[in-house]
Amino acid sequence: MKVAVDDDRCRGHGVCWSTCPEVFDLSDEDYAVVRTPEVPAEYEEAVRTAADRCPEHAITVS
């Protein structure tokens, strides 16, 4: 599973980082960044939850 954050949509709410800090981080400017675009199997569910809960629909999993 792969995950990406759309920089044009992200507004730095940090919900993904709250949900799965192992995969998402916040940049110095407080926007979301992906630490590991190739999601480790044990975090797949958390990443799906994060994508589902992103207020800006900025996260895509493929």
């Binding site: 920089d7 044009d8 949509r9 992200c10 507004r11 730095g12 709410h13 940090g14 919900v15 980082w17 709250s18 916040l26 407080d30 926007y31 589902d52 809960r53 207020p55 800006e56």
Partner: protein
């Protein structure tokens, strides 16, 4: 505690002064608990609040700002009230405002708003905040003392939003006057005393409708032209009123709340000199300090949802037609999420997990704006003073302070914060 059960969250002045012991008592009993006075289910737990806010399928936001007042126009009977909501939602107060929308209308209108507060635009706006803050501080700091809410926080956040929306400079003075002269100490949204007007922001609405019409006729290279010509995701062009309302929303939602955040943050700095010293010594702590201020004194205490169908929250079954109040400010003090929750700790590792900006599809679109305004303001206030203190003359001596909070069940914030400071020589 029987005391707390007798208290009426929506009317009791004591709960305006300090709502937290009451909210803690509710959570202690059950994080999803029906209060007896207005039949509202109070959600005070972190996970439970998150559950409701993420569930826009089973909960409608049609009463998000008003809850039980005035209540729904018709009796809510049956196991699915979606049709009743569709038929009557336009009769509810604030029904033309984004926070009360549900998908799919919400999705389209929010997209319109997000086109206005893009990361690029926010960056430009943040750049101009430094100059705006310094201009405000030139006069605010000059006397060595002042009332922070009306002397800095109010006008600063107003000018920031005017700048974000690209209000032409020649009109900004008129804007300040038009908005400052509204009766702002009356409670407005969520007042514990007075009734709600249908749409209290007529001045802004008229002003922006005129801008939108003007820019559609004669486009310019400015932000308002962007607003005037923005299309819905399906390509259709919004009516003038819809476009204007996006701007009005920003003013309405962004001003009151950011002002209260700034007030809460400055009160902490002035009341707790050790925290002030900590931030003076290490400015990189400012962002997390602001998150902690948002957590401990969430400017929006909570808002409402209405269940469309029978639904279970935190294991508690709620029938269709239940008015639920999601109390962000209580969720942010849930000890299951935040250890020692009443303590203000600027270095708290998980402070940013607070829900002061909400969760789910209605999450505050202005969150990055509020954060930037707070960072810039505190940074410059610390740079330009060597000490910030509470005015004992206005608020009383240490140990016997007097503070007044806005008299609403929705908002949390000081009406006044009188400060004294030692300006840094040559900082102006």
């Amino acid at each position: 505690m029987n005391d707390f059960e007798a208290m009426n969250y929506f009317k009791d002045a004591a709960l305006v002064a300090d709502p937290y012991p009451y909210l803690d008592a509710l959570r202690g009993k059950c994080p999803v608990l029906r209060e007896p006075h207005h039949d509202v289910v109070m959600v005070t737990g972190y996970d439970e609040a998150s559950e409701v806010l993420h569930d826009s399928e089973h909960f409608s936001s049609c009463t998000s700002v008003t809850g039980p007042f005035p209540g729904f126009p018709v009796p809510l009977e049956g196991d699915d009230i979606s049709e009743l909501i569709a038929l009557h939602r336009h009769e509810l107060p604030m029904s033309d405002q984004l926070p009360t929308f549900d998908p799919p209308t919400h999705t389209d209108h929010r997209a319109l708003l997000m086109r206005l507060i893009t990361p690029k635009r926010l960056k430009e706006n943040e750049a101009s905040m430094w100059g705006l803050a310094d201009r405000m501080l030139d006069s605010f700091l000059a006397g060595g003392e002042g009332e922070f809410i009306s002397g800095y926080a109010g006008p600063f956040s107003l000018l920031v939003i005017a700048d974000l929306l690209g209000v032409p400079e020649e009109d900004q003075q008129e804007f300040s006057e038009g908005l400052q002269h509204r009766p702002h100490d009356r409670a407005g949204v969520g007042g514990t005393q007075e009734e709600l007007a249908h749409s209290p922001l007529g001045y802004l609405y008229d002003r922006f409708s005129a801008y939108v019409e003007d820019r559609r006729r004669e486009p310019r290279e400015d932000v308002i032209t962007g607003l005037a010509t923005a299309a819905f995701p399906d390509g259709s062009i919004p009516e003038v009123g819809d476009a204007a309302r996006v701007a009005v929303n920003l003013f309405a939602a962004g001003q009151e709340t950011t002002v209260r955040l700034l007030g809460a943050a400055l009160k902490v700095l002035a009341e707790q000199p050790e925290i002030q010293a900590q931030l003076r010594g290490d400015r990189t702590l400012i962002p997390n300090f602001i998150e902690e201020a948002l957590r401990v004194e969430s400017p929006i205490k909570g808002d409402f949802r209405l269940s469309r169908v029978p639904v279970s929250v935190g294991g508690v079954d709620l029938p269709a037609g239940t008015t639920v109040m999601v109390l962000n400010s209580a969720a942010n003090r849930d000890p299951r999420q935040f250890a020692d929750p009443a303590t203000f700790d600027p270095t708290r590792a998980n402070a940013r997990r607070h829900m002061a900006f909400g969760r789910g599809i209605h999450t505050c679109p202005g969150a990055p704006l509020a954060r930037a305004e707070a960072v810039v303001s505190i940074q410059r206030l610390l740079d330009r003073t060597s000490d910030i203190r509470i005015s004992e003359r206005a608020h009383g001596p240490e140990g016997a302070r007097r503070y007044q909070y806005v008299p609403t069940y929705i908002l949390r914030g000081l009406t006044e914060l009188n400060l004294e400071f030692t300006p840094v020589e040559g900082s102006a």
